[in-house]
Every structure is written in C-alpha cells, then in structure tokens.
Amino acid sequence: MQTDSSWVPILPEQASTLAWHVDALYVYLILISVAFTIPIVVAVFAFAIKYREREKFANGAEIHGSMVLEAGWSFLPFVISMTIFLGGAIVYYNQVTPPDDAMQVYVVGKQWMWKVQHETGQREINELHVPVGRRVKLTMTTEDVLHDFSVPAFRTKADVVPGRYTYLWFEPTKPGKYHLFCAEYCGLNHSGMGGYVYVMEQRDFDNWLAGSVSGQTPIEQGRDLFENKLGCASCHAGGPAQRGAKLENIYGKDIKLVGGQAVTVNDEYIRNSILNPGAQIVEGFQPIMPTFKGQVTEEQLLALVAYIKSLSGVTTPATGGTTTTTGTTNGNTGQTNSIGTQGSNPNAPSSNTANTQPNR
C-alpha cells in the first residue's frame, strides 16, 4: 500500500471511484461522534467538578426526570441514525450493483491463494492486474472454505462462499500497487493469503495482456488441442476422412438435429457437444463421436470453443452473452446460480471435490 506521508498512516489511498463516497461517510460519522462525545464529556467533567460532595452525606437535588428532555434525546438520535442509514444504503447500493458493461474477471479462492483468470485467458496467482478507468467485475467462488477478497484501497470486499458465486466490482482511478487481503478466517495461512492489485494505464495493461503468462491466446491453444492433442481434426477437418459435422461457418446459425429439433450453435452447444456428444446429434450424422468428458479441463474447453468460433470468423473471447446465469445479470451479491449448471464459465469448478480428510 502506498501512502504519501507519514510515519503513521491514517487512511488508505483512495484508488476507486467509490473510495471517496466511503470516506465521506466515514468523516460524516466521525463528525457526528465528535458532536455527541464533546457535549457529554464536557458535561460529565463539569458536573463532576461543580457538583462534588461539599458536605458529608448531603443529598443531591430532587429531580426525577423531564419528558421534554427524554423526547428530545430519543428523537434526535433516531433522526440522526436514520440519516446514517440512508447515506449508508445509497453508497452500499452502488457498491454492490455491478454495472453491465464491466470487464469480467474470475476469481477462485482456495487455501491459501487467490487464483485469478481474465476473460482473455490470462491467469494470475495472488495478483490482479486491471486497467485504470475501466469498470471491473469479479465473479468469485472458493474451492474449499470461506475466504474474503478485500482491497482496502478500493474500499470494498466480499466473501467467497463454497457452492455459489459472489460478486465484487470497482472502477480504479489511480495507477498503483494496492494490498489484496483475505479477510475471512480460513485456517493456517489466513494472514499470508494476500497479494497485490496492480492498476495500470490502459496502454501498459494491454502490453501486460499481450506478454501474458499463459503464452498462447485461447484461439491458438484451441487449435493446438483440436489438431494435435485431442485429435478432433481426424473427423472434423474435412477431406475424405470427414465423419463429423462441418465446423466452419456454423456459429450463430440454426442447425437441424436428429429427431427434428433445431438448435442455435452457440458456446453452450459447442461445449455440450464435446462433453455429451450423443445428446444433440446433427441430422445426417451417426452417433459415433466419443465423449471427452474427463479428458478436457474447463480452460481447454474454453480454448476449443474459442477456436471453433474462429472458424466462423468470430474472434471475440469466449463467454459473454451466452452465460447461462440463472437469476440476475446485474448480479446482486447473494443468490445466483450455484455450480452445477455452468456452461461457459471458465472458472466454474466442475465439482466440489475439495474436502480433505476430516479429523475430529
């Protein structure tokens, strides 16, 4: 965390569009606290001095109470607390409502590291690179226990819960390197489960993306799998050996299946055809394609889908409009789909296999 000054830091840097909202609320509350504390402390001290016992066992004045005062100091705190509530609610609503045009990033927490994956395929561990001025939405889950993705400079955090997705969004305003902490106790190395968020100028971010860790773009990776590693080309590459359906220029079009149904070729369909080829067979073809379930990882599926789309001239990254999120697209934190259905989400753990051997 970069702090400009001092020997003793008081505030973290403000590095997101929401940071000053939160700080404003904080200052407001401090002012209210001071406004209540000073009169009470002054009164207590003043009374203590002025009304100390002068004669042994002398009694104080006979005052029982005052309805006016009671009403006053019930009503005033109530009104003030309502202003605090409203201010807080407005800021909160903004904080947890990710905008639709946000850049997607996927995060998986596990004991004791953060695994981050960008839509374009780049993967990071315990780090997150984002461009300044772009809205970023994190879709998060965990493989094992509760964790919490916390970035104090952005003034935001959210728990990650096993079995469901939670969300976080921010728009960074200032390039820099900011602390990332895990803020929900998760066991042995909870204190060490952190890292940094790097906010970069757009140009630097693009450079970073290009020279990224994974090396290949998804499309290149997909071609590699298609032609070499998985042997799809042996049936789908065209030529006399073609036994599988043609894959060029089919994306987005409707095709007819055995049994008469028609289906639109989208990411979901492509993915299902690789994992469960017998379910939706193109008319005129035999049910002879083997399933690749268990032989491809989610990232590889993503790459294959990207490659196959590129055969139709479609080169935007996989996922996007076809996510089958049940529930809301604006992603209120809270309930959304649990893990079972995810079609095109690259980071969806396919099963919760993370339970270690339990001890009593």
Binding site: N276, G327, S338, T341, S351
Partner: protein
C-alpha cells in the same frame, strides 16, 4: 403438617414448602413460572431445527416429499395417537392428585409410562427399519450386506390399505430387489416417483421445480440421481436429529414419571400439595405437542402429489 425448631422458635409450614418462600402460594407461583419459562426455552431449542427444516424444505420440496413418502405414516400416526392418549392419562394423574386419590394416581402414572414406552418402542421399530433399508444418513451406520451374498430384505413395517401407492409399489418391488450395502452407506433405491410426477407437471406448463432444485438436482444439464439422493439424505438427517432429540426428551420424561411414581406411591400429593404433578404434566404435554408438529412435517409430505 410440618414443624420444627429454628432458632428456638417453633415454625409451622405447609408440607413441601421450601424455606425461601413465605407461603405455598408463592412457591406454586414460582414453580409454575419457572416451568413455563423452561418450556419457552425448549421451544427455542427445537426452533433451530424447525428453521433448518424450513430452509431446506423450501429449497428442495421434491426431495423432501420423496424421502417423507418412504416414512411409515402408520407407525407415525400410531405414535401420535399413543402420545395424545398419554397426555390424557397425564391430565388424569393431575386430577387424581388434586383429589388425593393415591391408587388412581399410581394407575394413571403407570399408564402414562406405558404409553411413553410404547412410543419409544415404535421408534425402535422405525429406526431399525431405516437401518435395514440403508436410510441412516451416516456412512457405516447402516446394515452392511456383502456384494457376494446380498441379503433380501422384507420391509419391517406393515403395509396398510391406506398407504400410498408409492409405498405399496415399493414394498412390492423391494421384496425382489436385493439389498447390497458393503460400506453401510446411505442409499436411495426407491426411485424418484415424486420427481417424475413433478417433471410431468412441468411439461404441461406448470413450473414445479424451485430455483435451487433446477441447479441442485442436475449436473451438466442432466438429472443426477446422486445429487437427488444427497438432498434426500438431508431430509433424513433432519428427520433423525429432530425425532432423536424428541425421543431423548421422552426418555427424560419417563425418568420424571418414575420419580413421580415413587412420590405418588408414598402418598405425598393432595389438594394442599400437588404442584410437582402439575409441573411434570406440563413437561409431558410439551413433549406431546412437539410431536404433533413433527409428525405432519416429517411424515405427511408429498401425499398430495400422488392423488
């Protein structure tokens, strides 16, 4: 009539009066408020379990109905009847205690205890059936049957004419199906009638699955019997914890009755002093009422699906 010397003064007090009280009225009032407060906290204790039930049933109603259908409503109903009658005998115990009728008190307490024991006996029958059918949610706690020598199990409970079609069909098919459970795991071999019924209804346009169910029963878009079984296992977990806790309270109740029997036999109770009987009665009625709630929530789900 009790009197004794205290600091050289003679001191009369009513029989059974504790020394911190001024008179019997104060003692009775105190004991009564105390017992009611105790019962209120017992309600909160069971309340946590009812909350868990509420949450999971609203998320997975089909699995709950499926699991509930396999519970034997006959035995459950019999237990309900038994407890209601035992509450009657308990109330009569209080009645006779107020009249100082020692013999009738003792008879009524013995009857109450008999009904309580019957209740527990029926629970043993039910739990044994679950053990034999692989329905205890904990791995290793069910009957194991070697794959090499599968045991063919008869259903332990009687099949009554008013049983559901599901149960009757099951019991028929079960006699043919071998029971194989080498690890003593929770098994669900009883099909998915309720689920199938719901899917039929869905096809005709009525949405029958909850959001959680649309996700929770499926893997990769296909119905996953293991995930369905997991939800049914949650039902059985809640069933066992709730009825187990209730049975524990029943055992405590029987202990209380045994003590009461001893004191009633001594002839201690009369119009002047019968609060212990009344308080024990309150506890017994409470245990009864908890069962009245448990029975329909656990045993009677899903019957409307099939009619």
């Amino acid at each position: 009539m009790a009197s004794h010397a205290e600091n050289g003064k003679f001191h009369y007090h009513e029989p059974g009066l504790q020394h911190q009280f001024e008179d019997m009225g104060q003692q009775e009032e105190s004991v009564s408020i105390g017992m009611w407060v105790f019962l209120v906290q017992e309600i909160m204790f069971f309340g946590g379990l009812f909350t868990a039930y509420l949450v999971f049933r609203s998320r997975f109603p089909l699995a709950f109905a499926e699991g509930s259908n396999h519970l034997d409503a006959f035995w459950g109903g019999l237990n309900t009847l038994v407890l209601i009658v035992s509450s009657l005998t308990m109330a009569l115990t209080v009645y006779y205690a107020q009249r100082g009728n020692r013999n009738m008190q003792v008879i009524m307490i013995l009857l109450t205890m008999a009904f309580g024991a019957t209740f527990l006996g029926v629970k043993v029958i039910e739990y044994t059936d679950k053990y034999n059918s692989g329905l205890i949610p904990v791995t290793g706690w069910n009957k194991r049957a070697n794959e090499a020598q599968p045991a063919v199990e008869e259903r332990a409970g009687a099949v009554m004419p008013w049983e559901t079609a599901v149960a009757a069909a099951e019991s028929g098919s079960e006699k043919k199906k071998p029971y194989i459970n080498p690890h003593g795991e929770f098994q669900w071999n009883y099909g998915r009638h309720v689920y199938d019924y719901a899917i039929e209804k869905e096809k005709s346009g009525k949405p029958y699955l909850t959001e959680s169910e649309r996700v929770g029963y499926f893997s990769n878009g296909v119905f996953d019997p293991n995930k369905y079984r997991d939800k049914i296992r949650i039902f059985y977990f809640i069933y066992f914890v709730m009825t187990g806790l209730h049975a524990l309270h029943m055992i405590v109740g029987l202990g209380l009755m045994a003590w009461l029997l001893f004191v009633a036999w001594r002839g201690d109770f009369s119009a002047l002093y019968y609060a212990p009987v009344e308080m024990s009665g309150l506890y017994w009625h409470f245990v009864d009422i908890v069962w009245i709630f448990l029975f329909p929530l656990l045993y009677l789900l899903g019957r409307h699906f099939l009619h």
